[in-house]
Structure formats: structure tokens, C-alpha cells
Amino acid sequence: MSGTFLGMPALPAYGHGNLNATEPFPKAAHRELGNAQLRANLGHATHTIRDKRLKVVAELPDWEDMRDSGSAIKNATMAQLPALLEQFEANFTARGGTIHWARDAQEANEIVTSLVRATGETEVVKVKSMATQEIGLNEYLEDQGIAAFETDLAELIVQLDHDKPSHILVPAIHKNRSQIREIFLREMEDVDPALTDEPARLAEAARRHLRKKFLTAKVAVSGANFGLADTGTLTVVESEGNGRMCLTLPDTLITVMGIEKLLPSWSDLEVFMQLLPRSSTGERMNPYTSLWTGVTPGDGPQNVHLVLLDNGRTAALADEMGRTALNCIRCSACMNVCPVYERTGGHAYGSTYPGPIGAILSPLMTGIKSEKNNSLPYASSLCGACFDACPVKINIPEILVHLRGEDVDSRRATIKVPTQMDLMMKGAEWAFSDGAHLGLLEKGLPLGRLAAGRDKVIKKLPGLAGKWTRSRDLPAPPGQSFRQWWARDHKAPDGVVPGTGTTNGTGTGSPTESEGGQA
């Protein structure tokens, strides 16, 4: 993310809004892990969706071919982004739509507000959209005296409870049915007091609550899953029909879409509408998909707007190692397979974008130094499950490692005195630079066993290394090193093992054979 360009903006334009972790991930995760209900709900949700996904993916003989196509189409999109945006704009505009460009969250919020004001309305209905969550649109509109009603069931639950979504696909996964019933009874004016906590009854309560809103709404705000450059078509993928309501009934439709959501051509949709539903909800196809191109006379909204949002996307694009994070189609498959996310939940990541993709996308969009986002690239065990699950093959682990490097570099630039880590690394440099040095150190192994005591477990290391033992025990070091064992067991022809400086002894067995087990 370094580098200056001549005659061009000297610094990446970072994004703002709900993209930041406000406390370090380890701290937030520690708190969230204490929430047993959340952990149980999340474990159930991630495993259920994961299993469904595997089943429907296994059905297709050409799944990997589709992933290859999807990945290539997205890379091609990013490589030609300016031309595709202009092509999309020309097509959408030719059919009566209006395009607005927003550099950041503030500008996008202002544009949407002025478009709503121009209609004279003070209420809007909303379809679930991550882009509008990212820019904090609902809060902004509220400050401006405009009420925004979320219409997706989960978003409605979260909004009524004045809470934040915890999963991008099932935002209210942290609440169970009885909690949802309580929220409805407390917050819905015209609710039946005899409401039970049966999901079907709760869904019906939501239908009744929103129906009048839909039928009288004049303005809707949506996001978009895909924008097709060669036709100027927009797409919204959903399940409940609230999207269709918002996209069809009001006079005015305002869509907010990140600039990276384009696909070059209409026929590319045939790839992505196979990849997305199967990766996301584990369905062969989602119940409803709506497509519109500007204005259709006599059918649907006649006043149609699209806000194209940057808000840090160009900063992510400028990072050659990290730019593929923009290929994300927000399916949430990476979250559902992530061992870290499964335990901490979405709230621990702070940003609108949680899980493995959030851990790279958020710092790429805000810059690694923004608030506590530098802790996010460490919220991973680098197990690689996210990469395997990703329908567009984003190599998330590789980008995580790259961003960790960025973080270390950015900190090194501000710290002059050598840190403990620097000293340890210097020590390691010395130890590994010469076999004799290492041999000398290995003689200290029995000391470590002494420190571990009878239970062969080290519970507390000093200094910086203490961070490791704060949440883990360390098994006692082995009585001999691999090199010592090798030297004993594999006699070199001349009886001397290079590097150790010792003659071969009569060792038996492997070095681990007699060691204490893992705590």
C-alpha cells in the first residue's frame, strides 16, 4: 500500500464508516467467547449451513470449473474497472436511470438524503444491504429526520432490538426464538399479545407488521449483488420477497453499490448465480432474484438511482497483493468454515465485514493503521479452510500474512528502541546462523524440562512469550533435540555429524518417544 504516483493522488483514499474494529480483536473475542448462548447458536448455524453447502456443491460435476471461471471473471473485472464502470453508466443511464458517484461514506449518505428529500418523503423501506450498513446510512438518515425501515426479517429483529448484525447472511443468529418473541412484543406496536415463539408465527407477525409499510412506501433503498456492465442491469438476490416488494412497489428506488460489484457481461451472471446461492445458503437457488435495468415504463419504480461507492475500495485495489479481496461476492462461506469465527461470532470483528474476508477487507479499505484494524489480520489460524470454500478462490490466508507484514512494518517505522521481539529475532538469527551455535543452545533443553516440573507442562513464560502461555500451556521441551537424536541414530561414515561437533552416540528411538504428552 506504499508508493507514490506522479500526477495522481499521492495517498490511497481510505474508507470510513462502520469499517473499524473499535477494540483489539483479542479483547473483543475474549468478551464474546464468554457468551455461551452466542457460541451455541453460532456453532449450530455455521455447521448447518456448512453441511448444506457441501451437499449442494457436491451435486455439480463442474463446481471447480465454475470457481475457475468466477475467479477469472472477477480478476478481469478489476483489471478493466474504469472502462466497465463507464460502460455500465452509459447503459443504465440510456434506460432512464441516474448514476451518482460517492468518494466515501459521508458523500454517499448525503446523496441518498438529498434524493429522499427531493421526493418530500420522510420514510424509506430498505432491503438488506451491506454497503448501506458499511456507510451507516440508517443512522445518518435518522439524524436527518428520515426513518429507514429494515424489511429483511433478521435485519428487522436486529433493528427493533437496537442491536448490530452478527453474521452477514443470518444477521440475527445470535438471538433465539424466545428472545425474538420478546423483542416483537416489546417493539411492534400492533402485535398480537398472544404471539408464540414458533418461527412460523414470528414470521407471520413480521409479515403483518411490514405489509402496510410496503403497500404505501414511496421510496426504497437497496444494495445490489451484481451490476452487469454490457447491459446496465442490476441484481438483488433474496429469499423472503421483501426485496421484490421494495424493488417493485415504490415510485423511487435508490440503490447503493460498491464499484467492485460489476461483472463485464450479462452472460457472466450464469456463473455467479450458480456460485452464490450454493455457497451462501446452501440452496440450489435462492427463492427470489430480481433484475432491473434503469426504468421500465409502467412497471416498477419510475425514479431510479444508483450510487456508486468507493469508500476505500480504490485503496484496496491499489494493494497488488490484497486486491483480490475485492472479488468477494459476500456469500459468507468463509465465515461458516472458519474455526475462529465459529467461536467468536461477527461482533468481535467490529467492522460490517466479519470473518476471514472481513479480516482482510476491513484493513485494506481503511488502511492497516486505522483504529484497531491492525489486530484483524491476526484473527486467524491460517488453516486455509476459507480459501477452499471461497467460490471466487480468494487466497485469504496469503493476504492475511501479507497484511501482518504491513502491520509489523508500520509499527517498526514508529518504534526506535529495539523491542523484545527484535531482540528475540536477533537471538534466533545468531542461533540459526551456525550449527555450533544451535548445538550449544540445545544443551539447554534439559533445563526446560526442569522448569516444566513433574507435570511436564510450562504454564507461564516470561516477557513477550508470556502472551502465548496466557491462553495455552506449553508442553515441556524434549530431553534431546532432533539433531542430537539424528546424530546418535545415523552414524556418519567418519563418525562425526556435521554441525553438532559431537561424535555419534548410541541413541535409541525417536526424540519424542519418551516425552510427556500435550497438556
Binding site: 423472503e240 435462492n286 427463492p287 421500465t296
Partner: protein, 215 residues
């Protein structure tokens, strides 16, 4: 500088390394390997899985089957381009005998209001194409399918599909559809899994989906 110029400049700067535009492999299936019967069977299987009701009849019996499906329904709306013969077994509107429905026609000359549509019990439309592998029916707003609103507000959608319009894989359907037409792709009745991941059919869209396939 306008926001537009600014953003396009930022992108230009971000792509200073001029990344290559990769060739796009398209080795996935783009045409059906199934017979018409297999496609029909697969589509029925998928739709039933989505909790839709499916009826397969010879084309000549379309009107009779529709009259049967709509018996006991007080009112239906149809788009002006729905084939006339499909409704020929219904007694003319207003006669109101044997529980046959009042039929309202939505046309460019006479567009039903939201309130009128909300008072109607069912809608009957045709379909543009259907994908058997995913159980998806596509509406494209042509005269036999009507405006998007008429297949959305009534609580029951009866969709009539010609068996010849069933393809197997999505790419075949995408090739048939006009991109710029206002489209709705429907895979079962509306549903939610937002409460403890328990699937509930029927939220805001039509809670009942009946599919009548004509052979």
C-alpha cells in the same frame, strides 16, 4: 474535480501496475445433456422440494385444470397477454356461479392499483423459461406474464409453464432471456430461515406457489 473523475482517477492510480486481463475459462456445462422427460422430472422434483404444488397435464387440458385449481377462489388477476384459451373453462366474470372467481385483467390501459391487487386472492401468469437443475422459473415481464407487481402482491401465484420451455442448466436460460427486461427468478414460494435457521415458507411474497406444466 467531480466525484466521478476523482474515483476514476483513483482507480487508474490503483491499477498503475497494469494487471493483465486474464482469459476466462468456460469449462462448465452450458447445454443440457438430458432428455425432455428427464428435465421435466427433475423440475418437478425440485419444485416439490421447495414446497410448491406441481401439476403436469397435456396442453389441451390446460383450461380444465386451471378451472379446477381456481374453484373456490373469489378473485384472480391475470395479465392482458395471458392466452385466452387457458381461461376458457372459467365462466365469464360476474356470473358468479359454482364459486368461480371474478377475473380482473391488468393491462397498460387499465392498471390495477396496489389496493386492488391486495384484495385479490390469486394471480395466474405464464413463464418465460424454467431451469430444471435449480427449480427456477423465470418471468420477464412480457404480456403473458405482466408487470412485476401482479405476481407479487396476491398471496397465491399460479404459474403456467410450457414443457418446451424447460431447460436443464442456468446458462441455457440466461441465453434465452433479454437482459434488460424486468425479471423475477422464482425458486419456490418465499421463505426465511432467519429464526434459528428453521425454514418457514411464506413471508412477504406469495405464500402459495402452484405450477401447472403443459405437455
Amino acid at each position: 474535480m467531480s466525484a466521478r473523475e476523482d474515483i476514476l482517477n483513483r482507480i487508474g492510480a490503483a491499477l498503475r501496475d497494469a494487471p493483465a486481463v486474464p482469459d476466462i475459462p468456460r469449462n462448465y456445462r452450458r447445454v443440457s445433456a438430458m432428455t425432455a422427460e428427464q428435465r421435466l422430472e427433475q423440475l418437478v422434483d425440485r419444485l416439490v422440494d421447495y414446497k410448491a404444488s406441481v401439476f403436469v397435464v397435456p396442453a389441451a387440458e390446460a383450461a380444465g385444470k386451471l378451472a379446477e385449481l381456481l374453484a373456490g377462489t373469489a378473485s384472480v388477476v391475470v395479465p392482458h397477454g395471458l392466452p385466452q384459451e387457458w381461461l376458457s373453462a372459467l365462466p365469464p366474470a360476474g356470473t358468479d356461479d359454482a364459486g368461480s372467481p371474478a377475473v380482473a385483467v391488468d393491462s397498460p390501459q387499465r392498471r390495477l392499483t396496489v389496493a386492488e391487487l391486495d384484495a385479490v386472492d390469486a394471480v395466474v401468469t405464464a413463464a418465460a423459461v424454467a431451469v430444471s437443475e435449480t427449480g427456477t422459473i423465470m418471468l420477464d415481464g412480457s404480456p403473458s406474464q405482466g408487470r412485476r407487481i401482479i405476481s407479487l402482491v396476491p398471496d397465491r401465484h399460479v404459474c403456467v409453464l410450457r414443457a418446451a420451455d424447460i431447460v436443464e442448466v442456468l446458462p441455457e436460460a440466461v441465453a434465452r432471456l433479454e437482459a434488460t427486461a424486468p425479471q423475477t427468478w422464482i425458486s419456490g414460494p418465499s421463505a426465511t430461515s432467519d429464526i434459528e435457521l428453521e425454514r418457514v415458507e411464506g413471508v412477504h411474497g406469495p405464500r402459495t406457489l402452484d405450477v401447472l406444466i403443459l405437455q
